[in-house]
Amino acid sequence: MAKYIMQRILAMLVTLFIIVTIGFMVIRLMPGGIFDDAVDMSYEQRAALEAKYNLDKPIPVQYAMFLKGLVLEGDWGTSLKMYVNVPVWDVIKTKIPVTLYINFFSLLISLPLGIVLGIVAAIRKNTMTDYLISFLVVIFISVPSFIFATLLQYFVAFKAGLFPIIYDATAVGWDKFYCLTLPILALSLGPIARVTRYLRAELAETINSDFMLLAKTKGLTERQATINHGIRNSMLPLMNIIVPMFTSIMGGSLVIETIFSIPGMGGIMVKSINAPDYTVTLATLIFYSVVSLVTVLIVDLSYGIVDPRVRMGGKK
């Protein structure tokens, strides 16, 4: 078991390293120098700038220095364009919490709501309730999250005035949540629908399986059989979709942040690509990679813990 954990962590670190390397290379190898479109400067000035940022050294050396700085000193470099001379870490450290806040809460509400709706839809399969839920599911899965964000912003915030239109960075505590309600909602609708659909399918299939029949024949009522056997067994495969769900939440948050003017990692990343400010871009990429890979790792490991067949090395 411990060996399994170590293996997965190692794999994750390797992947992370590859990502960072490729990211660094791509950025450095891009056509055009970093200071190409800067104001005219003399040759000496440019050389001096390049020396300061180590841009005159060969790429592998630059990379080694970057890694050394990153791992040993937590130095992510300095911003080149957007906030000149400000360390990148300072730029991003205020943005990370907000992004994590939205993503985390989104995940937190999507799962339980989705599970409940999925169970209800499966139990009342082919009734009006089921059709209604399935209809809503199709709509929420299809329509992109940023459309919902736009709609919510227009109708709920603008017209009805129930929630603030854009995010107020100074809000804290309950106020903060209130301000972020619409973005979180917009982000969650898709994932909720996805979980509902998945769980409904799993539960419907489980209900038809042999061991449910056995449960009934040994004297359990429908309800007891569904709860004790059906639901437990359908929750297990849920692990499979947590990762795609989380990825879509993360991706969605990029746009949502833009729509609601939330100062998060998404906004910074977009700005840094357009600026262009490569050190910041690299930092944001590393951030997203770490979050992604860690989530995958956690899900992988939990699958091993929750499913006894994997845990005890039995054949499936």
């Binding site: 056995l214 024949t217 040994k218 004297g219 359990l220 009522t221 056997h229 437990r232 067994n233 067949r309």
Partner: protein
């Protein structure tokens, strides 16, 4: 003697996309207390559907068209779900065919056994585990106390079937229905499981309905036998009646088709295939495959002809005016051999 369970004129059909499938047609049989009744037939003959109807676990598109199932003075056909709840597991139990899919793969088996006990409310949680372990020992699972915490995938096929049997017997039912419990198992394990079922029957004074397509199994454990074809019972009698004095051509065909070591003639195979129950054939359903079919077989369905008090068969061959037909040679020789072996010991 009064039968403990009595099925009368039971008809069951299913709504399929292509039409209505008449799976069970006018089935009658009685189960006496303490006996083992075997129901024999090919796949698709309606054996499983009959018992699913008894327990009220038919698929959603199936329904009982007519008939009655009398148990404990009540007609189970009229039962609602809450009535079945009192019967299933507690009075009538079912042993499934495939133990691997019948057990919940992610629940410990001890819990699966004790669950039936706890939820029926007949015993408290603390005692339930003890009872479950006793039960596991009774069905022959070694190291029962340890194995209580194990999962189904950690057992072999034979052991899993024992667990399923344990679950079925947990609440001390009166009637045990076994739906081809040995079909999914190796031949060597089959014998042990059959032995187990017999032992349990004796110890707990059960009445058993045993469904199978394997006549060899029937010979081992049955007291009485019903032969089913295309949703009807075509012959019923004691084990001896059926094996030594079979009367219906289908029974002849089944008995002739069993391969054994001593057969010298060409192996017999029943030609054709069971009929499509969407359009049940006119007359005797077996007529198309029956070597001894007569014109009347394609016109009218034969009634049950009495051969003895215990033995009935539905074939026009038993009509007093019908030509006398002897069973095929291969069968005669086989029966003679069976008698010899039975006498020898």
């Amino acid at each position: 003697m009064e039968p403990i369970l009595s099925v009368k004129d039971l008809s069951v059909s299913f709504n399929a996309f292509a039409g209505t499938v008449h799976a069970v047609r006018d089935v009658n049989f009685d189960l006496m207390k303490g006996e083992t009744l075997a129901i024999v037939g090919e796949s698709g003959s309606g054996k499983s559907v009959t018992i699913k109807a008894i327990l009220g676990i038919l698929a959603k598109n199936g329904h009982i068209d007519s008939g009655s199932i009398m148990y404990q003075g009540e007609d189970m056909v009229k039962y609602k779900e809450k009535d079945f709840y009192k019967i299933r597991g507690k009075r009538i139990s079912l042993v499934f065919q495939d133990p691997l899919s019948a057990l919940n793969p992610i629940m410990k088996i001890g819990k699966q056994i004790s669950e039936a006990l706890i939820l029926s409310g007949s015993i408290e949680k603390s005692k339930a585990k003890q009872r479950a372990i006793e039960l596991m020992e009774a069905v022959g699972i070694p190291n029962a106390a340890e194995r209580y915490e194990a999962y189904p995938f950690q057992f072999s096929g034979g052991m899993r079937q024992r667990i399923v049997i344990a679950i079925a017997l947990a609440c001390n039912p009166e009637i045990l229905i076994c739906d081809e419990p040995t079909t999914a198992l190796d031949v060597t394990i089959q014998a042990r499981i059959l032995e187990l079922i017999n032992d349990m029957k004796r110890e707990r004074d059960l009445s058993v309905i045993f469904i199978t397509h394997d006549l060899g199994v029937v010979a081992n454990i049955a007291d009485r036998v019903c032969v089913m074809y295309a949703g009807r019972i075509v012959e019923v009698g004691t084990c001896e009646d059926i094996f030594y004095r079979p009367a219906h051509p289908y029974t002849w065909a089944l008995l002739s088709a069993m391969p054994d070591l001593h057969t010298e003639e060409t192996l017999y195979a029943i030609p054709g295939a069971p009929p499509n129950m969407l359009h049940p054939p006119k007359g005797d359903a077996f007529a198309a495959r029956n070597k001894y079919a007569m014109k009347i077989d394609f016109e009218k369905e034969p009634p049950y002809f009495k051969i003895s008090d215990t033995h009935y068969a539905a074939t026009w061959l038993l009509h007093p005016d019908a030509p006398k037909v002897e069973m095929p040679d291969i069968l005669k020789h086989r029966i003679a051999r069976m008698r010899e072996e039975a006498e020898r010991g």
